[in-house]
Amino acid sequence: MEKQYRLLYDENLCIGCQACSVACRVENSVPDEVYRLQVHLHTKGEFPNLGMNYERLSCVMCENPPCVSVCPTNASFQSKDGLVHIDERSCITCKYCILACPYHARFINPLKNVVEKCNFCYETRVSKELSPACVSICPTDALSFGDMRQKHSLVHQKSHKEVLVFPKAHLGTKPKVAFIPNRKGMKS
């Protein structure tokens, strides 16, 4: 592969402020009723021994993407950079991919009637060497993004310093989105 992209979400820095989610909506003209990206917070424990969980929900860019293998028209495909994209022109809205995705990342864009999801802002930003909108906007630098082959990048350095968690790793989908788990408060 030509690139080894990784998006790193540091729960220790995330404050659940939703700036990333709004930035994603603006950048990608995501219609009101649907989300490419959400960040959820959950309070855990019993007063006063509490903790907070942080959960970032979006496409995790699987290296083995179930959404691609079920797509009958090849509208869902993997680029040579290893990113999973959807070709709007060939999408017939059969929803197989929506069912196949274990991360609930896909939805139907009600305005265009095609399936959509996070694409790492590939066309508008990443292909132009800009960070994805969510990464760029985050007030606390909870997100970092880059090519893992660049040894000096923040993504590379953080990946080697911290213990990473890959969501639903047991499914063998090999996500490109990794999490640095929260260290504070009551654990769930």
Binding site: Q18, A19, V22, A23, L50, S131
Partner: protein, 761 residues
């Protein structure tokens, strides 16, 4: 969490189908589809979705999408922005915005309007204001606005008009801490979160009331395992969740906790003796005042274990001077607010963290830096908003003899307005000019405020939405949003001198005018146009910059200007040395310790020193000269305390109707502990009544472990009555309706922790 709750609300709405298409006269929707215009480029400007005023930039693509992000030329910002900031475009293109001046046709408050031309509306405003001035005197008109450039402009306008009655939002937010600063240091200080090692935080929730540079520094602080954050807050806020320790303190009792800290430090002699001796006065009075305020004593008031206070006191001392006892930014919890704020400042002073890295520091303004360097290294600005002195008493007596003599005349006491209008004392009040100010949501007892407004002869409001307060107006002037207007140069200075400028990103979509244009036009019509040395925003900027084209150019292109002045703390010899190397003439100021100690010895306080004891205050307010235990009760005999605060996606009363933000959080169900809910037979989402002596209001319950059983919490800014704010109209509860107009002694702060009862619906 509340966001999920909001999401559910939203889904419910979304599935119940079509959004109403009733058109409000004068709204953007009434004009139908409007082509979006813009330029395909970056424009750097200043955000205005809250009061933090973060430098930002806009990318305008094909004139359609406006992606806003932080302005990386301001290095503490990077490209970061908060949800409200990013949603700026959603406000800009909101079809519910006001786009045409409106003139009242029904009864006051009835919300019946006709559209008018700008010419007619401005003419009416100027004629009416001039008539009031002629009949009752200029002082019969009051002026109010949020703090910021709008406010400087309005204040200047009011004084040219001749009225002393100008109000900012201060008394409903930072006034206690601001006045504690004035009386202790003669000016405001800032917190060096980046370099601190230990922070004690009293519910200063930078993760829900965001200010990007501070929020970012605080987030990195929290994520750093070698640093320590202790949060005291009755609610498990986001910052509490990020802390190393969270102590659910009883609402209103911060003062007791701080007095106990002071007691422990003084009892054990563990404080910075040299600093106290060299730079402060009144320490002995403090010793006397905190003799009895033991950790044991505070335990009964705050619910925090005495041993905990001992431990935190000793940890803070061990970390000093790289520690901060954080004073927050909204200081309105109790009647004891002034004493609480002063006690916190004095706790910092005892730790000797003033002008130390990782402590607290004085603003390094252009003037201060130039004086220190003994050369002009940073351009100083002209004030474009002149203010002749008005020799008339204010309606609230701020800054004059009496209860509010120590309250700044510049900001006034908002809660004093209704009584003054209703009683027409000390004199007749007939008009009110409100600029982007919505007291019917943000100020205590809006019921009374509304009653008072009904008595007025003339009210003019300029705003971008038809807000609850705008509904009470005779004339509404639709202002353009911050993305559609140029403004003057503003000062962002904290650690180093920095200027910023609001540059317009798109031309006003509907010919709306900026406050600068509105006021300038009115001044001309009312015959005091010569009050201003400028005619439009470009002249204003040039006048302010004293014709410095390079500065203007930088601010146009980059949005911010800083001047490569090295950051220094006056009491850090190595940083002082670095400054002197760059500006050798400044060596003349260096004292025997290698410091700029004189900066702390010639303050704007009566003694010129840091005042632990304020003699002037003591003379008028007995017992207030030094922090002491005073009224911390916030229950007023009721079983629960209703507290309120910000969410990360809304600003006070202003953003609830912004489409993208309304989608994220559309209501404010009241936080309640499960045991409390159970005692009242309430289940998640049930409606019930909150009641106290002032109001009885419907509310919805949000059950969570994250709050003390005796405390309730509401995100503020909900409960809008204005039908024009369709997305937020009638949703949630306005916590202000329960608040009393009785303000905190000495500083005039509105009090936002209030006793209530829970009544089953």
């Amino acid at each position: 969490m509340a966001y999920l709750q909001a999401r559910r609300d939203f889904l419910k709405l979304a599935t119940t189908g079509a959004t109403a298409t009733v058109l409000i006269p004068g709204s953007l929707g009434a004009l139908g589809e409007v082509a979006l215009r813009g330029e395909d480029k970056f424009v750097r400007s200043i955000c205005e979705m809250c009061s933090s005023r973060c430098p930002m930039e806009a990318r305008v693509i094909n004139g359609k999408t406006v992606l806003l992000q932080g302005n990386a030329f301001a290095k503490e910002m990077g490209t970061s922005l908060c949800a409200k900031g990013v949603a700026g475009s959603s406000q800009l293109y909101d079809s519910q915005r006001l786009v045409s001046p409106l003139i009242r046709v029904g009864k006051r408050g009835e919300n019946k309007w006709r559209e008018a031309s700008w010419e007619e509306a401005l003419n009416l405003v100027s004629t009416k204001l001039s008539a009031l001035k002629e009949r009752y005197g200029a002082r019969s008109v009051i002026f109010s606005s949020k703090t910021g450039e709008h406010y400087d402009l309005l204040r200047s306008f009011a004084s040219a008009f001749g009225s002393p009655n100008v109000f900012s939002h201060w008394s409903s937010c930072p006034i206690a801490i601001e006045s504690a600063f004035t009386q202790t240091f003669g000016e405001k200080l800032h917190r060096d979160f980046e370099n601190a090692n230990y922070i004690l935080n009293f519910g200063h929730n930078l993760f829900e009331g965001l200010d990007i540079p501070l929020t970012k520094a605080m987030a990195h602080f929290c994520a750093n395992p070698s640093k320590k954050l202790v949060v005291l807050d009755p609610r498990f806020s986001i910052i509490a969740a990020k802390a190393d320790e969270w102590h659910p303190i009883k609402p209103g009792s911060d003062l007791a906790f701080v007095l106990a800290l002071l007691h422990v430090w003084i009892r054990d002699g563990k404080f910075d003796h040299t600093f106290v001796e060299q730079y402060t006065i009144g320490f002995d009075n403090l010793v006397d005042a905190v003799k009895e305020t033991t950790p044991q004593w505070q335990q009964t008031l705050s619910g925090i274990d005495a041993n905990m206070v001992e431990r935190i006191a000793s940890e803070l001392y061990a970390a000093a001077p790289r520690c901060i006892i954080d004073w927050g930014h909204k200081a309105t919890t109790t009647q004891a607010e002034y004493q609480r704020s002063r006690a916190i400042l004095i706790a910092n002073i005892l730790m000797g963290n003033v002008e130390k890295e990782g402590g607290i520091y004085f603003t390094k303004s252009a003037k201060r830096v130039n004086a220190l360097a003994k050369e002009s290294i940073v351009p100083e600005l002209n004030n474009p908003y002149p203010r002749p002195q008005i020799n008339e008493p204010r309606i609230d007596g701020a800054g004059e003899e009496g209860a509010y003599r120590f309250v700044s005349k510049q900001h006034g006491v908002l809660t004093a307005i209704p009584e003054a209008i209703l009683s027409q004392k000390p004199y007749e009040i007939k008009g009110w000019f409100l600029t982007r100010h919505n007291p019917l949501i943000t100020v205590a007892d809006p019921q009374k405020m509304k009653e008072a407004m009904e008595q007025l002869e003339f009210i003019v409001v300029n705003d971008i939405y038809l807000s609850d307060t705008a509904m009470m107006a005779d004339v509404i002037l639709p202002e353009c949003t911050y993305l559609e207007r140029d403004e003057g140069i503003s000062t962002l200075t904290c650690k180093v001198p920095t200027y910023a400028m609001r540059n317009r990103i798109v031309a006003p979509l509907h010919g709306n005018k900026s406050a600068i244009e509105i006021m300038r036009d009115l001044a001309e019509r009312m015959g005091f146009g010569s009050h201003y040395a400028w005619k439009n925003s470009s002249e204003l900027r040039a006048f302010q910059a004293k014709g410095n084209a390079e500065l203007l150019q930088t601010l146009l292109l980059r949005g911010v200007a800083s001047f490569d002045v090295p950051y220094f703390c006056a009491l850090e010899p190595s940083l002082v040395e670095r400054f002197c190397e760059r500006y050798p003439k400044s060596r003349a100021w260096v004292d025997a310790q290698g410091c700029f100690g004189h900066l702390l010895e010639h303050l704007k306080t009566p003694s010129g020193k840091i005042e632990i004891y304020c003699e002037e205050i003591e003379k008028v307010f007995k017992g207030y000269g030094v922090p002491r235990s005073v009224d911390m009760d916030v229950t007023q005999g009721f079983p629960y305390v209703l507290t309120s605060g910000k969410s990360a996606v809304h600003t006070n009363g202003h953003t609830q109707n912004v489409p993208y933000l309304a989608m994220l959080l559309s209501s404010n169900p009241i936080w309640m502990h499960p045991s409390t809910a159970k005692a009242h037979g309430l289940k998640m989402g049930d409606t019930f009544y909150l009641q106290n002596a002032i109001a009885k209001e419907k509310a919805t319950v949000f059950i969570t472990e994250g709050i003390r059983p005796d405390t309730l919490f509401a995100y503020m800014g909900f409960g809008h009555d204005a039908p024009s704010l369709k997305r937020t109209h009638g949703k949630g509860t306005n916590p202000s309706t329960f608040l009393s107009l009785e303000s905190a002694p000495l500083c005039g702060a509105m009090i936002t922790n209030v006793g209530v009862n829970i009544i089953k619906a």
